[in-house]
Symmetry: C2
Subunit: 314 residues, 2 copies
């Protein structure tokens, strides 16, 4: 299996730079005091479509050959990758076919429809998603753009930390949440080669701890229909992302649901930005393990901000 | 009455620069499409204490002589200026005495208490605030720092637009909401002298339209206990701020409560940032008057992000 290198993330950044927001890095004096650390939040919740996923989707669409591109692109996603691919397709004038689980948040369904994508709903299992997608691809001739287990997507997601390290040097640690592992593996690909002293640590909900189990045992162990508030992290690692994560990530730490909600509320209240539960997982890890992170300079990627305002957990 | 000049805002910026956040300027493709204009949002909701008020309070505290400063500072405020002054005082190692109306939002009361200020509650009228404050100042010897009608405060607030115009040149218009007029008069002071081609337009809730009435008639007309969702804009102009606004502001436009709520929700949903209702007033003005703003490059100061998450208007 050909794994991406840091140079591929750098190439991806040159390719997508003009099409993505350079999102701000924000700090909070009060959160730093509470944690006893310096946290630099890379606000990908303020990225286009409200999630880092726009980076990977844009990179993948731009890399398609002209004659393949004209048949459009397709994917399955609980939401953010769907919205990202839909907008990336729209901006490049091609069709997007999206398979979504029927229990995806309303705001994400609305966003995808708003970008003009054609949606097919399915049961909320990985199996149903994949078989429905296969059918869609067969009918339309569209190119599958996987939400995470794809080379171009991994490289695109890695650009968030490339940008972060341009905005804030001298980090000790970079933290991301881990779901399918696209962001985590892209981050590790870039950072471990360019900044080998920076540790890469991922946070994962204990209720969807496939990455943790797989990482610790060295053997891929998917979860089935996990039930966590962090809806973006319900997917399991893929073959490509696991291969990279196994090799390049320093640690994966799990946290409980209550802790995720508390960290989410802390960011809303103290930083005045809207994040979805998945984004709160790394801060939750820091809050639960203060001693390990004491005095460290930590970059945290806030992955997305798509929540139903009518269904807040607080 | 000695009015501040642009150079005083520039001096204030040099003074406070290291102590305030340089807040980001964000844009939203979808809001621009809806408005038919290019809007650059200066995110003072992401300022320390979650509001631009930290700029003016910091400038005022730094300008106090050493021997006066030691007795502390005092003010009345529905919240953001109170939190701002409390933090500015704390950081400079002096006491803050705050008079707050008893109906101020919980989150604002908690924030002020959290910064170690001594709070005295009063009836929610301008008269009660002023008499209570007089009493507090008499007892403590603290220096009054007015929430808006004070030279140093006006100069500090003007620095938000100074920064905005460094981050985004070539604006046609800068818009702010208007309550007591500190931000609006500071903005106009700086911009009209340094960038005379940039128009200054304020938005105001129709239910608290004292600035509109005063501006249109040329005669100061305070409102009494106005009832608008935009809790930061319930105050009336002061003598200093009215003098500046009368002279330097191009227009003041009023909007209804429903329109403010809609604009607030639009910013939450599309931009993933938390703003309080007051911050939504300028966007509400644009949405209600699309023809007048068509094709314009508009800077909008988002003034604050302090809301009770348990009491959202949507």
């Amino acid at each position: 299996m050909k794994l991406p290198a840091a140079v591929d993330v750098i190439d991806a950044y040159q390719r997508i730079k003009a099409l993505v927001h350079q999102t701000p890095v924000l700090t909070s004096r009060s959160i730093n005091e509470i944690c006893g650390a310096e946290i630099y939040f890379k606000c990908e919740n303020l990225q286009k479509v409200g999630a880092f996923k726009y980076r990977g989707a844009t990179n993948a669409v731009l890399l398609l050959d002209e004659d393949i591109r004209k048949n459009g692109v397709a994917t399955h996603s609980s939401g953010n990758h769907a919205a990202a691919l839909a907008l990336a397709a729209k901006i490049n004038g091609i069709a997007a076919y999206i398979v979504m689980p029927e229990n995806a948040p309303e705001i994400k369904k609305k966003a995808v429809a708003g970008y003009g994508a054609q949606i097919t709903f399915c049961q909320p299992t990985l199996e149903a998603r994949e078989s429905t997608l296969e059918e869609v691809v067969r009918k339309t001739g569209a190119t599958l753009i996987h939400p995470y287990n794809q080379w171009e997507v991994v490289c695109g997601q890695g650009t968030a930390s490339l940008e972060l390290l341009q905005q804030q040097r001298n980090l000790d640690i970079i933290m991301t949440p881990v779901g399918g592992g696209g962001l985590l593996s892209g981050t590790a690909t870039y950072v471990k080669q360019q900044f080998p002293d920076v540790k890469i640590i991922a946070g994962e909900p204990a209720k969807a701890d496939d990455a943790y189990q797989s990482f610790k045992s060295g053997v891929f162990q998917p979860v089935v229909n996990p039930d966590t508030i962090a809806d973006g992290l319900r997917t399991s690692l893929g073959s490509l992302t696991f291969e990279i994560i196994k090799d390049k990530v320093d640690d994966i730490i799990t946290v409980g649901e209550g802790s995720i909600k508390d960290a989410m509320r802390m960011i809303w209240e103290r930083m005045k930005i809207i994040i979805e539960p998945s984004s709160a997982v790394p801060l939750s890890v820091v809050l639960e393990n203060k001693e390990s992170f004491k005095g460290k300079k930590i970059g945290v990627v806030l992955t997305g901000g798509n929540v139903d305002l009518g269904k807040l957990p607080f």
